[in-house]
Amino acid sequence: MSQNKRPDGRATSQLRPISIRLGVNKNADGSCFLEWGKNTVVATVNGPRPIFPKHLADQTKAVIDYKYRMACFSVSERKSPVPGKRDKEISLVSGHALEAAVMVEQFPNTVIDVNVLILSADAGTRVAALTAASLAAADAGLPMRGLVSAVAAGRANGELILDLNKEDEDTPDAVDMATAFLMPQRELVLLQMDGCVNKKDCSKILETALKGAEVVYELQKKALVEKYPMDGEIQ
């Protein structure tokens, strides 16, 4: 992978700056405010709590009700406040990703509410949101197998690159692969792609994504350790 600079000055496998604040919401069990380049995200986690109406309950585990929303002013043209198909699909797959990380089997017949609001968007909102939601779940004290570290990778202008911003996404040959890994296990819990790429490049993009996820994971750990200083350390 070439180390040419991109329009915003980043190397091909360099993440945008990420800043994390935990526990920002007094009323939520867990919360996270995350800035990722020009993306701004707030995530809260509440629960588990009994589910209503009752026939939605799952007798074997907690249901994760993940709601991904974009503020009307988060995108270039005002977004309607009504959630669209895209919002619902992102909510669904992100909830699936979290479900693989949280020990939901410990809380049968309950629901865990995850709310993510995108305040400002510049490509990669779903991975920023999921990274924040995973931290909010940890901040809420939910038992977890690991953290979910999410990042996008793909192609722009013939280069395989990490963490596409809007400018990268708008190139004619752009391919955008959203990934989320359960860390430190390095297991994929979310993987979505649109585009047309050969197998070999697909593998390379996946490897790039994993490297990016490792960086994200380090930042997540750092934020948690800052808020919850420990004798030992998250592994």
Binding site: N27, A71, S74, V75, S76, L117, L119
Partner: protein, 269 residues
């Protein structure tokens, strides 16, 4: 929402006892407003934005312009639409999804306070008489909910409007994304709209209530002030009522506090 959180109930009982002695849990006087922080220009995707912290209550407002057809009865005016979403972000008690009836109530009050005030020059939002004018959407989100969402939202919306830049138009009068004229939105600061929401417990009026205090009060009243004038009234629910003299007193208090809040909203950090 049907579950009663016993800790909140106990704290609300404490708040009532304190009210009777004209005291509050956070040591404020009954008519003191919490620390108010306003940051403008926080969201680069919005045409104007503001983040308001009123104690622990936090609201973000963002303005987006759109182009629409003017109303037949005001062919040379633009318009404003204020929405409030009390997203699940703000509180474990609030469902996301369709706007709650409370969010609608609060949003309508804020909308009316701003719309009725004379601080916005709606004629300045006309593009072509009878054909095209600007619609300013002010979308507000509660980020933390600790009482008095109405005032926090009103301050956020007003501050976001003060931060708002007018977008460029192309030759067919459509908005050019991310490009702005030199012009900021004109706001008549002498007429800036500011709301004040009072809780009532027995015969006590309490300004800027926290979430626990909301549970302790018997009703609520919002007054919108614009310079020397009153621009909106709104009585909330609950078993409490108001005497006319109390409304008069509320107007006196609100107009006395007006300048201070207005300065904070106008303040360029």
């Amino acid at each position: 929402m049907s579950d009663i959180d016993m800790i909140k109930v106990i704290n609300a009982e404490k708040a009532k006892k304190l009210f009777e002695q004209s005291k509050r849990a956070d040591n404020r006087g009954l008519l003191d407003i919490r620390k108010l922080d306003i940051k403008k220009g926080v969201m680069n995707s919005a045409d104007g934005s503001a983040w308001v912290k009123l104690g622990n209550t936090e609201v973000i407002a963002g303005v987006k312009f759109a182009v629409g057809t003017p109303y037949p009865d005001s062919p040379d005016e633009g318009t404003i639409v204020v929405n409030l979403e009390m997203s699940g972000i703000a509180s474990a008690d609030i469902d996301t999804g369709p706007p709650s009836i409370e969010a609608m109530e609060y949003g309508r009050v804020v909308d009316r306070v701003i719309r009725s005030s004379e601080c916005i020059d709606f004629k300045g939002l006309s593009i072509v008489t009878n054909e095209k004018s600007f619609i300013m959407y002010v979308d507000c989100y509660t980020i933390n909910a600790d009482g008095n969402i109405i005032d926090a939202t009103q301050y956020a919306a007003m501050a976001a409007l003060l931060d708002t830049r007018i977008p460029k138009l192309d030759e067919s009068n459509n908005i050019v994304p991310k490009e702005y004229t030199e012009q900021k939105l004109k706001i008549n600061k002498d007429k800036l709209a500011v709301s004040f929401t009072f809780g009532k417990y027995k015969d006590k009026l309490i300004l800027d209530t926290t979430e626990i205090e909301d549970l302790a009060t018997e009703t609520r009243f919002t007054v919108g002030v614009c310079g020397d004038n009153i621009v909106a009234y709104h009585k909330g629910g609950g078993k409490g009522t108001f005497k006319i003299e109390e409304i008069n007193k509320i107007m006196d208090i609100a107009t006395a506090k007006y300048q201070d809040i207005k300065n904070k909203i106008c303040d360029e950090q």
